[in-house]
C-alpha cells in the first residue's frame, strides 16, 4: 500500500494498452455528450413528418425515428442522461456502501451484523428484479431511478469495503493511532478511508457499466426514465416495434450502450490488475 496513486496510474498506462484505449473511448463519449448536441443541425425533438423512419443517409447519419427526428441527435442528447445515470448512482452507492462497510468493519458487533444481513438480503435478489420492484414502489422519473440504482448497488460495495477495513483495522499503523488516543471516527477518516480509495476507484469504474446496463434494462421495459427525456434504453424501447422496418432505431443506441459498458469494464479490470498484481498472473 506504499505505491503512490500517480505511480499506479503510470504503471497501468505502461502495462495495459486496452485500459488506456478504453479511457480514451470514455473521454470521447463524455466530450460527445457535452458538446455534440451543439454541433448537430437538428433539435432533440424536431419532428419532420415527411422523413419518418428514413434510413441512414448523408443528411441523417443514423437515420430518423417514427417522428422523423434525427437519431444521431437524440443519441447525443441521450448520452447525457445515460452517462449521468451511470455515474451519479454509482457515486451515491459508493458513498453509502463505503460508509456502511467501514462502520460494519470497524465497529463490529451488532452494527456489523445488522449491516451485513441487510447486504445479504439485498444481494440475494437478482439485481434487475430488485430494481423493477423498487421502481414500481417509487414510481418512474429520473430521481427515483437514482434512488433505485443506489439501493441495488450499495451492498456489493459495502461487502468489499468491510473486508478491506477489517484488514486495515488490525494493521500496525492503525493500532499505533489507537494507542496514541486517536478517536474511532478520526481513525476511520484519516487512516482507513484513504487506504480504501484505490479499491473504491476500481469499484466505481466497474459499478458504472452495471448501473448503465440496469438503467437501460429498466427503461427498455418502460419502468425507468420517462419521456420527454431520451435515455438510450428508452430509445430502444420506442424503437422495438420498428425492429423489422427500421432496425437502426434499436441498434444505434444498443451499440452505444455496449461500447460504453465494454470501455468501463476494460478500464475497471485494468485498475483491479494494477491494484492487485496477483490477479494478473492467474
Amino acid at each position: 500500500m506504499t505505491e503512490r496513486f500517480s505511480d499506479l496510474m503510470r504503471r497501468m498506462a505502461r502495462e495495459n494498452k486496452t485500459a488506456v484505449a478504453s479511457g480514451a473511448v470514455i473521454l470521447l463519449m463524455l466530450l460527445a455528450a457535452a458538446f455534440g448536441p451543439m454541433m448537430t443541425p437538428y433539435g432533440e425533438n424536431d419532428m419532420d413528418l415527411m422523413n419518418r423512419l428514413a434510413p441512414p443517409s448523408a443528411a441523417h447519419l443514423l437515420g430518423t425515428d417514427e417522428g422523423g427526428r434525427d437519431v444521431l441527435t437524440r443519441l447525443l442528447y441521450g448520452a447525457r442522461i445515460s452517462l449521468l445515470i451511470g455515474v451519479a448512482p454509482a457515486l451515491l452507492s459508493l458513498a453509502v456502501g463505503a460508509a456502511l462497510g467501514m462502520i460494519a468493519g470497524y465497529r463490529g458487533g451488532f452494527a456489523d451484523t445488522l449491516i451485513m444481513r441487510m447486504a445479504d438480503v439485498t444481494l440475494a435478489f437478482p439485481s434487475m428484479l430488485l430494481a423493477m420492484v423498487l421502481m414500481y414502489a417509487l414510481g418512474g422519473g429520473i430521481l427515483n431511478v437514482f434512488l433505485t440504482l443506489t439501493l441495488v448497488n450499495w451492498a456489493s460495495v459495502a461487502r468489499v469495503v468491510r473486508s478491506r477495513t477489517l484488514q486495515l483495522r488490525d494493521s500496525e499503523f492503525v493500532e499505533a493511532a489507537r494507542i496514541s488516543g486517536v478517536s474511532g471516527g478520526r481513525i476511520v477518516r484519516r487512516h482507513i478511508l484513504p487506504n480504501c480509495l484505490p479499491t473504491l476507484l476500481a469499484l466505481f469504474t466497474l459499478n458504472i457499466p452495471a448501473t448503465i446496463l440496469t438503467e437501460s434494462g429498466l427503461s427498455f421495459l418502460g419502468l425507468g426514465v420517462q419521456p420527454p427525456f431520451a435515455s438510450w434504453g428508452l430509445m430502444i424501447n420506442a424503437g422495438q416495434q420498428y425492429l423489422m422496418t427500421a432496425p437502426w432505431l434499436c441498434f444505434a443506441p444498443g451499440l452505444a450502450i455496449m461500447m460504453i459498458v465494454l470501455a468501463f469494464n476494460f478500464l475497471g479490470n485494468g485498475l483491479l490488475d494494477v491494484l492487485d498484481p496477483r490477479r494478473k498472473k492467474r
Binding site: R117, F125, P126, L129, M132, M258, L262, N265
Partner: protein, 307 residues
C-alpha cells in the same frame, strides 16, 4: 458435513425471510390504496372497501405481514387482481416456459463456455486464447436486449429460420436461449480458463505427461476433473440466474414466462401477482447459491474438513 449443510440451510432460510420482509415493505410503501390504484379512478367506493377488507389490507401492517408469511408457508399466494385467477396457477404455467428456456440457455452457455475455456487454457496467451477471451468479454458486456434483438432481426426477420416470438415449438426457444445464455457463456469460459490453466501448472500434471499421456488425455482426464469444481459452482449459480433473469429476453420474444408475468404484474399494478413472482424468482436464486455451496462442500475435501 451434515452440520455444514444444516448451517448453510439455516442461513438461506434467514435470507429468505429477509427477502420476504423486504418485498413486503417495498410493496407497502406504494402511496395510496392498492385496490384503488388497480381499479382506477372510477372505482365504486363500496367495492373498493369490500375488496380491501377481503384482502386484509385494512388491518395493521405487522398483522398483515404475519398473515402474509403464514399464507406463503401454506403455499397460498392469493388471487391475481387483474386476471382473476390463483397466482400459483399463473406462475406454474409461466414457470414451465421459463424452465425450458433456462435449460436451453444453460446447455448453450455451458457447452460454448466450457469449449472456449478449455481451448483458451490449453493455448494460453496464444491466438485461440485471445480470440475466445475477446469473445467472452464481448459476451459479458453485451446487453441482453441487444443480443436478443440482433438475433431476432437476423434469424427471424431476415433469414426466417426461427419464429419471431411465442412459445409454440422447440424452435421458438432457440433464439431466446442463445440471447440469454450468451452472457453466462462468457463467464463460464473465463472461470474455466482460469481454473484449468492453474491446474495445468501443477506437479501431478507433469507426472501424467511424463507417463506419456497425450495433451488431450492430460487435459480431459486429469486436469479437467480437478478444474471443474469452481466451474460447476459458477454453472449452478448461472443456472439460477438464467431462471430468474429472463425478464428482458422474454419481453423481446413475447414469451409467457415468469419474467414477463412480473412485467405484466407491474403494468397491471397487480399486487399479489408481483409479490409472488418477485418472491419466487428470488427464492430460486437463493436456493441456487445454496445448492452451489453444498455441492462445493460435497466435492471438495478441503471445505468439508473446514466445517
Amino acid at each position: 458435513m451434515k452440520q455444514l449443510i444444516l448451517r448453510r440451510l439455516g442461513q438461506a432460510l434467514i435470507v429468505l425471510a429477509g427477502v420476504a420482509l423486504m418485498i413486503f415493505v417495498m410493496l407497502r410503501i406504494v402511496p395510496g390504496n392498492p385496490i384503488e390504484t388497480m381499479m382506477g379512478e372510477h372505482a365504486d367506493r363500496a367495492t373498493v372497501a369490500r375488496m380491501t377488507a377481503e384482502m386484509g389490507l385494512d388491518r395493521p401492517l405487522p398483522e398483515q405481514f404475519i398473515q402474509y408469511l403464514g399464507n406463503i408457508l401454506r403455499g397460498d399466494f392469493g388471487t391475481s387482481y387483474a386476471l382473476g385467477r390463483p397466482v400459483t396457477e399463473l406462475m406454474a404455467g409461466a414457470f414451465g416456459n421459463t424452465l425450458i428456456l433456462a435449460l436451453f440457455a444453460a446447455l448453450f452457455s455451458w457447452g460454448l463456455g466450457l469449449l472456449a475455456g478449455i481451448v483458451s487454457a490449453v493455448w494460453k496467451n496464444r491466438a485461440p486464447d485471445r480470440i475466445f477471451m475477446g469473445f467472452s468479454l464481448l459476451g459479458i458486456s453485451l446487453p441482453v436486449f441487444l443480443a436478443a434483438m440482433a438475433l431476432q432481426y437476423l434469424f427471424a426477420f431476415q433469414l426466417k429460420w426461427f419464429p419471431v416470438s411465442g412459445t409454440g415449438s422447440w424452435k421458438s426457444f432457440v433464439l431466446p436461449a442463445v440471447a440469454l445464455g450468451w452472457n453466462s457463456a462468457g463467464q463460464v469460459a473465463q472461470i474455466t480458463r482460469t481454473s484449468l490453466a492453474e491446474t495445468l501448472g501443477e506437479d501431478f500434471i507433469e507426472t501424467a505427461r511424463a507417463k506419456g499421456r497425450g495433451t488431450a488425455g492430460v487435459v480431459l482426464i486429469h486436469a479437467l476433473r480437478c478444474a471443474m469444481l469452481p466451474v460447476m459452482t459458477v454453472m449452478i449459480i448461472q443456472f439460477s440466474s438464467l431462471l430468474s433473469g429472463a425478464v428482458i429476453t422474454e419481453t423481446v420474444f413475447s414469451m409467457n414466462g415468469l419474467g414477463r408475468l412480473m412485467v405484466q404484474a407491474i403494468s397491471g399494478r397487480d399486487l399479489p401477482l408481483l409479490q409472488a413472482t418477485a418472491l419466487f424468482a428470488t427464492a430460486v436464486a437463493v436456493l441456487g447459491s445454496l445448492a452451489a455451496d453444498i455441492l462445493c462442500a460435497l466435492l471438495d475435501p478441503r471445505i468439508r474438513r473446514e466445517a
